[in-house]
């Protein structure tokens, strides 16, 4: 089942006289339960793509269907409503509210959807235990380590079982141990809950945890790699090779 289908998306910044085209017609479709990462050099439009797909930024042209619903036609208020029900976010900078405890942070999406308190508590326990942060529930974010913060952020993204989770460089600020911990948890949740995850990263190791890697360059899809039945190590090598090619071409220009 297709969760997300984007066709011919264009995005440009600036005005008529000074236009900067960032996305130049990207086509993309994502199926339920996929764990996809988007890779590409700096300035290739990864984050813009993520923002556009997650309705945080407006498209210049093209269409995005999520769960069969056309996103580009929605008004600001409906978009907020949509994000609330169908999307989850994990950011590089964790983006936890520092005045709320771990539990309060994680429960935010459920608060918004007015889920009943008992259900909320139940869901919290489930997801927090899976991510190993249940004991931290009464702590404030600045009492946590980076990895713990990012797992909290992940729990917040998973708790309301969104159709798709967007992750922007989730391992960017973590040391390698915490990063692999987090990625293991993410792929576990991906399998267990059939959660769809779209992750932007420039770390090949992080990308190797995914089932599919999309390379973009200068606002266009350059190539895609499918993990298939390969081991993670083999897949990692593939990614490295592709990245080398990608970088090589860039050097020539």
């Amino acid at each position: 089942m297709k969760i997300l289908e984007a066709s011919k998306i264009y995005k440009s910044y600036g005005n008529k006289f000074n236009k900067q085209e960032v996305l130049k017609g990207v086509d993309l479709s994502i199926h339920q339960g996929e764990f996809i990462s988007i890779m590409g050099p700096s300035g290739s439009g990864k984050t813009t793509l993520l923002n556009v797909l997650s309705s945080i930024d407006k498209l210049s042209n093209g269409s995005i269907l999520i769960n069969g619903q056309e996103m580009t036609k929605l008004k600001e208020k409906q978009l907020a409503e949509f994000r609330k029900a169908h999307l989850g976010f994990i950011f590089q900078e964790y983006n936890l509210l520092d005045t709320l405890t771990v539990k309060e942070n994680i429960l935010l999406p459920l608060t918004l959807s007015k889920t009943s308190r008992t259900v909320a508590n139940h869901k919290f326990k489930e997801v927090a235990e899976e991510l190993g942060i249940f004991e931290l529930q009464d702590k404030y974010p600045n009492e946590l380590s980076g990895g713990q913060k990012q797992r909290t952020s992940a729990a917040r993204a998973f708790i309301h079982e969104p159709s798709i989770i967007f992750a922007d460089e989730p391992t960017g600020a973590l040391d390698s141990k915490s990063a692999s911990d987090l990625l293991n948890k993410l792929s576990q949740l991906n399998q267990k809950r059939q959660a769809t995850i779209l992750m932007v990263t420039h770390d090949p190791v992080a990308a190797s945890y995914c089932s599919r890697v999309i390379f973009i360059k200068d606002g266009l899809i350059f190539t895609q790699l499918n993990k298939g039945n390969e081991t993670r190590q083999a897949f990692f090598k593939d990614i490295m090779r592709t990245q080398g090619v990608l970088g090589g071409i860039q050097h020539d220009q």
Partner: protein, 642 residues
């Protein structure tokens, strides 16, 4: 870009950011200038009246300066911290500290003196309005002229220049002291670490609440007869003041966090949409502003309290005058009374005249006095006595006595029982109770003691036995009431004309009430002036704090909007948050002033509720404006957050 261009670019950008600062600067300089203009205005002599007006105005202008100076320094401090990154950046690109300081000074100079000039101009244009207002309040009839006073201008300029230099000095120290790295961190270092509520904070919270309640409790007992000597009274006041102020501080430091912590604990992590923005943020931010909030609360309580009291006094001027002068005009000398009545007759003013004989008799109040006040007050008291024939609706038998017209103020010190025995001239009488009517003027009642009414027979007996040592020079009260109250002013005019030259206790109710209105009106005017300045400056400070806070919280709003909070959800939360941020200091200030006024209002007048509520409402409305402005600012921040 030359430094001049940089300067103007900065100025243009900052003018938008600091619009309220500029407004406050204009406002305070306008107020100060018009105030000083008043001080130097010759027509003020009329309004100053009997009290030391010039001294009062001078004191007030010093206080005004203190408020304005503290405000400007504080605001400048907030702003320079907010710009620390910019200063660091300029240093990073190679400007030295001296250059930056000069740049800042020049920028400030234009902002500051530009506003000052506008302020002076506005102050000048409004000074006539203000003086008209003053004349209206005090009831002085004089012509207000608009006169530009160079002394006032000079004084204003000097004072504000000094404040400017002070600000520059502080900026200089700030730039000199901070390294580039520190400058980049200044804003974040003021933020305190968010931690769990500690036991110490809980204790502080509980003690704070306890101290405030204790202060309120003692204040309600202050004049209830528990504190009889001056030392005790003074000590009680010091305790009230201390416990309330310390309590307020601890309240901000601990109680708020403690209470909110309890609320959140009960929610068990499940916060409602608007609580996410309001509850948690207020809980942590209020503590770091504890000192500032305590000062704001205390001074606004002071301002509200003083304003209420002076308004109470102003408001009840007529009633107080009625208590003291028992007719429109009162005399103690027959000749004077008849001269006056003749003039009234000549001018066709109708009146009613009554004369009452009053003698002074020794009284023992100990059987009917409530409470345990001892000493001369009760045993050796001398009360004026009149016969029951002087009062129409009262007829007593020989063993009975009624007291009438007991001053509210004295009633608070010596309370009387409703029934009991009373000894007049060492004879026992049955006491039947206290009437409200004031029968004779203050001259006979020593300013507020009740009059004893006895049977005609007893009265004649007293007259013969009267002790000459305690009698007043006059034994007859002459009261003249003008039938048509429209002619009262005219009659009063004649009274003032005739009596200007003759001595002796003779009083006009209208004069007395006008006098009090003039004095209290003047007081009220000055207090209102100061209160308004304080209100505007403290409102501005809270507003600045909020604008800073909103910028700090902007990333949070971004996250929340990404999660699917609508702008409306966030705005609702912000409104609730501002209700706390502005409402808590306001409410606490109102409570403080309520208890302060409640404990001693009877010293000032006879009507508590109307004047106090008017003052409080006015204050609340003006104060809310700043809350609304800050919500508006947040609206913009939230809109731009995504």
């Amino acid at each position: 870009m030359t430094s001049k261009q940089l300067l103007f670019r900065n100025l243009r950008k900052n003018l938008k950011n600091y619009s309220l600062y500029v407004f406050a600067l204009i406002f305070s300089s306008a107020l100060y200038f018009s105030f000083v203009t008043l001080q130097y205005d010759p027509s003020m002599d009329a309004a100053e009246g009997s009290i030391k007006g010039a001294a009062a105005i001078r004191t007030a202008s010093i206080l005004l300066i203190a408020i304005v100076a503290i405000f400007l320094l504080y605001a400048n401090n907030l702003f320079i911290k907010r710009r620390s990154k910019e200063i660091g950046l300029l240093q990073l690109v190679g400007m030295n500290k001296g250059m930056i300081f000069r740049l800042l000074s020049a920028e400030n100079f234009m902002l500051y003196f530009g506003s000052l000039l506008i302020g002076i101009f506005i102050g000048f244009s409004f000074s006539k309005l203000i003086i008209l207002l003053l004349f209206k309040i005090t009831g002085v009839e004089s012509i207000a002229t608009l006169r530009f006073s160079t002394e006032a201008l000079l004084q204003t300029l000097i004072v504000f220049c000094m404040i400017y230099l002070l600000i520059m000095l502080i900026n200089h120290l700030f730039i000199k002291r901070h390294t580039i790295l520190a400058l980049f961190r200044v804003t974040s270092s003021t933020e305190e670490q968010i931690k769990k509520v500690t036991f110490l904070e809980m204790m502080m919270g509980i003690i704070g609440l306890f101290l405030i309640v204790l202060g309120y409790y003692i204040s309600s007992k202050l004049f209830g007869g528990d504190f009889t000597t001056i030392t005790e009274l003074f000590l009680a006041m010091v305790i009230i003041l201390g416990s309330v102020i310390i309590g307020t501080y601890l309240f901000y430091k601990g109680s708020i966090r403690f209470i909110f912590h309890l609320i959140r604990k009960r929610k068990n992590g499940y916060l409602k949409v608007n609580e996410v923005v309001s509850l948690s943020s207020v809980m942590f931010r209020m503590k770091s502003n504890a000192l500032l909030l305590t000062i704001i609360t205390t001074v606004s309580a002071l301002a509200i309290g003083l304003l209420s009291l002076s308004y109470i006094s102003y408001y009840s001027a007529e009633k107080t005058a009625k208590d003291y002068v028992a007719a429109d005009f009162s005399f103690t000398d027959e000749d004077q009374a008849s001269t006056f009545t003749e003039t009234l007759n000549e001018n066709g003013i109708e009146f009613e005249e009554r004369s009452t004989e009053v003698i002074q008799v020794e009284v023992d109040l100990s059987h009917i006095s409530d409470g345990d006040i001892e000493g001369d007050l009760v045993e050796g008291t001398v009360l004026p006595v009149v016969s029951d024939t002087a009062i129409e609706h009262i007829d007593l038998s020989s063993g009975e006595v009624i007291l009438s017209g007991y001053n509210d103020l004295l009633q608070n010190f010596i309370r009387l029982k409703d029934t009991g025995a009373l000894e007049l001239n060492n004879q026992k009488f049955t006491y039947l109770g206290l009437e409200d009517e004031f029968i004779v003027s203050g001259y006979f009642t020593s300013g507020g003691l009740p009059v004893a009414i006895v049977d005609e027979e007893v009265f004649t007996k007293f007259v013969t036995e009267a002790n000459p040592d305690i009698q007043k020079p006059s034994n007859t009260f002459y009261g003249i009431d003008i039938t048509n109250k429209n002619q009262l002013k005219e009659a009063n005019h004649f009274f003032n004309e005739i009596m200007a030259t003759s001595n002796g206790p003779h009083e006009s109710q209208l004069n007395l009430s006008n006098n009090q209105k003039t004095n209290m009106g003047f007081m009220m005017f000055i207090v209102a002036f100061l209160g308004l300045t304080f209100l505007v400056t403290s409102g501005c400070i809270l507003y600045f704090k909020q604008t800073g806070e909103s910028e700090e919280e902007k990333p949070n709003y971004t996250v929340l909007r990404k999660l699917g909070f609508t702008q409306n959800d966030l705005l609702k939360g912000v409104q609730q948050k501002q209700l706390f941020n502005f409402g808590i200091p306001l409410l606490l200030g109102l409570f403080h002033s309520y208890f302060a006024v409640k404990s001693g209002w009877f010293l000032f007048g006879s009507e508590l509720w109307t004047p106090m509520i008017v003052v409080m409402l006015l204050y609340t409305v003006l104060y809310s404006i700043f809350g609304l402005l800050s919500v508006n600012y947040y609206r913009k921040v939230i809109r731009d957050a995504l």
